[in-house]
Symmetry: C3
Subunit: 356 residues, 3 copies
């Protein structure tokens, strides 16, 4: 029952992908590959974000070697200026701007402190952004700006992130726990995707739980959920509430402690992935020492994933295989991959219809 590794499958289009932290866009252009395409990001004087194919149409010089100047981005070779629409708005020493003097522009907007890019052929749809509970609300502390480049196809990442079972082994130095209860994972559809979760009921709060919130002498129920949403958003949602608390979303947000650990996966190429992360919590909001430790721990944990993903990418490339045997723990990862497969198949069918 070998499964083949396919690193040529098209990406999911007509979606927003995280491309950069807003803070990365200062006075200078930023070059980044997105879904295999070379893009330059810059900020116009009016604050509008430009996302253009990173090539001047004159001699193919990367626009990212140029400057933010003259109301747009100015090529560093001969000074042609382009605005966020991709139109050339100035050619030194020449009054007439030929109609071929333009470069591809992508819709780009800022949200959640990130610059997002729309790579599809359909109109950009602002309802398609992820919805992050607690973001920007009182009582919630935000850790953001996290970024790693992972040297693996984003599908290997998705399998990793929908798979709680690897924690004990891959993350034994960080978040792994040898004594974790052997409670099976449930998988459920959500509004926007998939959730693999388990409730660990009526257990004493952990030392960190106690430090974060006063649970008195009582026990707690703990829910850990690994969630996936298209195109490639993953978040771990942890809730710890007094044992027996009613399991409404309202109660889980307020009755105990809650964390959301988001990862936005953006394919750089078919074999590399931008890994942006942010983390929200409703406890210990002003403890800088705790926060510094949390950031370091998350960075180290994600680095362990990064190293494994890179190794798997190489082996899957070498063998052309993704799996030779299946385990019970594969259910949620496989369901997430099937969501991607269905979306890509639909998009291929639509494309075929459009051209036939």
């Amino acid at each position: 029952m070998s499964l083949k590794a396919d690193f040529t499958q098209d990406f999911v289009r007509d979606q927003w992908y995280a491309a950069a932290w807003s803070t990365e866009l200062g006075d200078r252009p930023l070059a980044r590959h997105i879904l295999g395409e070379r893009v330059v990001f810059f900020r116009q004087p009016d604050g509008v974000i430009g996302a253009l194919e990173d090539r001047c149409p004159h001699r193919m010089a990367p626009l990212s070697m140029g400057e933010c100047a003259d109301g747009g981005i100015r090529c560093g070779y001969h000074g042609m200026v382009f605005d966020a629409s991709g139109s050339c708005i100035g050619i030194p020493g020449q009054d007439i701007i030929p109609p071929t003097a333009r470069t591809r522009a992508y819709p780009a907007v800022e949200k959640y402190g990130l610059v997002w890019i729309w790579t599809g052929s359909a109109d950009a749809d602002k309802t398609k952004f992820p919805v992050i509970p607690g973001y920007g609300e009182e009582g919630w502390a935000l850790l953001d700006g996290g970024y790693q480049l992972h040297e693996g196809n984003y599908r290997i990442e998705v399998e990793n992130l929908m798979d709680p079972a690897h924690t004990t082994f891959l993350h034994k130095e960080t978040i792994g726990n040898k004594n974790q209860k052997d409670i099976p994972v449930q998988v459920a559809q959500t509004d926007r995707g998939l959730s693999a979760y388990r409730w660990i009921e009526n257990v004493p709060p952990s030392p960190l739980d106690r430090k974060s919130r006063d649970f008195g002498e009582g026990k707690v129920d703990r829910r850990v959920a690994f969630n996936f949403e298209l195109p490639a958003t993953s978040f771990v949602d942890v809730a710890v509430v007094p044992a027996g608390t009613e399991r409404t979303e309202e109660r889980l947000m307020n009755a105990g402690i809650r964390t959301f650990s988001y990862k936005f996966l953006t394919p750089e190429t078919h074999r590399t992935t931008h890994f942006f992360w942010l983390h929200l919590r409703n406890y210990m909001q002003n403890d800088e020492g705790f926060e510094a430790g949390l950031r370091a721990s998350l960075e180290k944990t994600f680095s362990e994933d990064r190293d494994m993903v890179a190794a798997i990418q190489l082996e899957q490339e070498a063998t052309g295989l993704r799996q030779r045997t299946s385990l019970a723990i594969d259910r949620a990862p496989l369901m997430a991959l099937r969501m991607i497969d269905r979306m890509v198949a639909a998009q291929s069918a639509a494309l075929e219809e459009a051209v036939s």
Copy 2:
């Protein structure tokens, strides 16, 4: 009107290419790729320069790993000795030299402090060397020994060097001048190639002009010419003379200040280019401080070109395109490329005729 990038076009043959500075050929052999071929250069005891295919015909060991010894170059593996004609003149422990014991030899001569190699099938033609005005003459100061490896096809270099317009932007930190007069470039055929030039007339001398030569209270005429000669020689020729001076070559050499900035481009491979440069001037001949500053400025300027050429090479490879839009400034570069194209087409036709 997209133009394709072609990095497989044959090189111009039956020409002299600069291969090394004479000073590079000391006691040891020098390995260098020339027009995609691996060549070893060495000096025989009689002073003759050898330029051989850098492979021993026995086991393909690079001869450049051997030594200048026994009257030629001695292979470092089993000691076979070859002279500049490519003939084996000694095999340790063996008296008979088999007729297959030889390696390809290229004509090579020294001129202008450089070692030149002839890569064609026709006999080497000593009339085909570039003619450098002022070289070795009294009153002229020479800066030479300049070398950079540029990671781009030499055609991208030729476009760059025949294109004064990029100076304002790419060289803004060095020789660029934001306020340069907007005088259009003229293009003319020369005896051996092409010249793109402009006269800036009746202007006050620059501070450097004044420092270099006493122009009194008068104004000057300034001529900047960007020249190209086959196979891949470029030189910038600057003349500054008292306004109204007659424009004969004799007057331009003597009536004011003059510089020749030569670049000899030798393809290393289809995507890399040896960039040899020398610089001649008829002023401030003995000012060591000025000369050191001039060398540093030229090195930095050429490094700016090098970085842009390397970036363009990668983008042209990625897209297969050279241009998507044309500008007025493309005229001289395109004419230079057409000179190359015509020469390569003629050489292909001759080759076809020869074998048919």
Copy 3:
């Protein structure tokens, strides 16, 4: 008479290849490519050596990123455990082990301080190990643990090692001797392979000979033999005995000084080779200063070979040729290569017969 370079020829199978020094197998797994295949080596708690395909059949994670634990090797991703037979003996959180949960196992044994691997389809044959005279016997000193990675196909190594003629030139800084007598090399079949040797008779002992053994005022006979055995073992066998000593193996072992310098070549890939070496001598057994100097000299000599082999690999790849001319010194190297060719041809024929 150009000979083609063939870097795609299959390796000789059904043989033992040196894979690692025993000391390399401690508490952690060891990853190594052997004959182009990715293998992980580890030691079970019972001391048995495991040599498995270095990929977990679940998601292709390299087992070498895991640990020696739970009686075998435990995958670092989800904790599956495999024993030396390649069987999965444990899956965390799952009782049933699917029949597909296994990975390829190679026979592996320890001998001469090395771990040897059997890569063939036939049963592992313990009579096929090299037989090293003097190994482990009284009066013999052993230098071992030597390893280098050489960036060339092992056939280029075999040519190098069966070819005494290169010593004068390639090893002029180490063991080369400009004044070596011009006595031709004899080639003879041995029980297990081939020997290229020469006797230098009735000469005064060298300073090292005198230091190693008391030859009195007499002269010596010196025999240097370069030997090859399949699949890729080479050893230099030097004997120095009082002139006129009878040439029986017993006398050569005892009447003077003797060294065996073994190299075990194991293809890593078609273009790289593991180079394991050990050295035996029957003199100056307890002289640590001499031994340190000997080790340094051998390392340096083999590094000279390594650099030449790597250069030749690149040139043979570039040209597709192995030789353009033949010399008298090629006889023994060619005979060794033919032994390999015959073995590979026989193995192909057997394979074809098996499937037809």
